[in-house]
Amino acid sequence: MKEIEEANQEVLRRMLAGEPTLVDVVPGVQAIPDLADHVILHAGPPIGWDRMCGPLRGAIMGVAVFEGWAEDLDEAGEKAAAGSFMFHPNHHFGAVGPMTGLTTKSQPLLVVENKAFGNRAYCAINEGLGKVMRFGGNDAEVLDRLRWIKEVLGPALGRAVREADGIPLKPLIARGLTMGDEMHQRNVACSTLLLRQLAPELARTAKSTEELAACLGFIGRNDQFFLNVAMAMGKALTDPARSIDGSSVVTAMSRNGTEFGIRVSGTGDRWFTAPVEMPVGLYFPGFSERDANPDIGDSAIVETIGLGAFAMAAAPAVVGYVGAGRASEAAAFTRSMAEIVVGPNPAWTIPAMDFAGVPTGIDIRLVVETGLAPTINTGIAHREPGVGQVGAGVVKAPLNCFEQALVAFAATMDIK
């Protein structure tokens, strides 16, 4: 239908026209005034405590102690079960978060402004790999790190980003794609490029040499530091494409560890959900698929804008890391995803594919027709609260979400 094709072109135009810039790092409540005491934003579509998976519960117990809403983890769990906390999806507040994705009032949030449309999006700072809150970790080591991020790293990053007058992200991503990143499970290049830009400003605004060294060391040791920046960028790019009448393009894909949810531009902010699938991948020594939790996190926002598994051809090294086959098969993922999108992004190109643009704008009609489910690169969390990351892999979005969305979308066009 001409009306749908035009609406989809408008959505793609908006996604491509965005000018995402990292402009600040501020406490959660400053970015999102609704983040009052006892309000917890989480990854994925809406879910209550009773249906939450182990790592999400573990992270919630940890963050409640971190925020001072409970004395210890046991009390936090009791309060959560008793309904003392209010849970909402990050996506409802312009935010995103990797894995459990918790966002609360005290955590420093990366602020990405889409200069072309004037909207802002937020994401907490990446804590590193292993036992961290986003994977459900919640012991003293995890909470101490969160406190350091709140008291030292967040404010230092905020000063540096403001001193730099913001960091434009589009060119940084373009460069990262030529250096082997796909911006989901491989952010080595972009983390380094960002640090290279921020280091002088961090030095210029540091309160002490020790603080500077600690901040530089923390960012420099974390290959995934840029992931959270990329996610806030993804949210900032997709929000202006929401609620375009007649568009069948996906504006969000997200998982809460129990359900996978998508939003489609033409059906507004309604979620279409289905049980989330188990990632297939590689496990850290001592762990196996028996330990794994089903897929979780808002991080699929990067696939929604054509990165992650959609840009796998740019990052052959990541294919091995996520256990998705041989490096030579990386291009097949990108070619396959190109069959279900509106078009390429000429600003973000892949050298190994003769500089083809990353496939952008997932069309639910093409997903349903072909049966090609969007592929997502992902980390794997332990199924029990408090353990953390146990591996990395790939996961398919459940086709059922797209089939439900198609029926609802058709109804908006008076088609039954």
């Binding site: 749908i4 069948s248 396959s336 009609r365 349903v368 027709e369 049966g371 058709a410 039954k416």
Partner: protein, 61 residues
Amino acid sequence: MEKKDSNPSSLLAAAPRVVNIGLELFAVNLVDNGTEVVHVQWSPPARGNAHLISLLDKLRG
């Protein structure tokens, strides 16, 4: 018109040339036995759901 090979024995004598469409397991089994296979990913549109196919026809029309 292209001349067809009328000698059936050559079909059996030469290595098979296989294009597999749909179920990948058939291709994998042949590859495991040393046969060269071109696999074509294919599945029925909309997983064969008649209602969804009808909606797609109208939405694509």
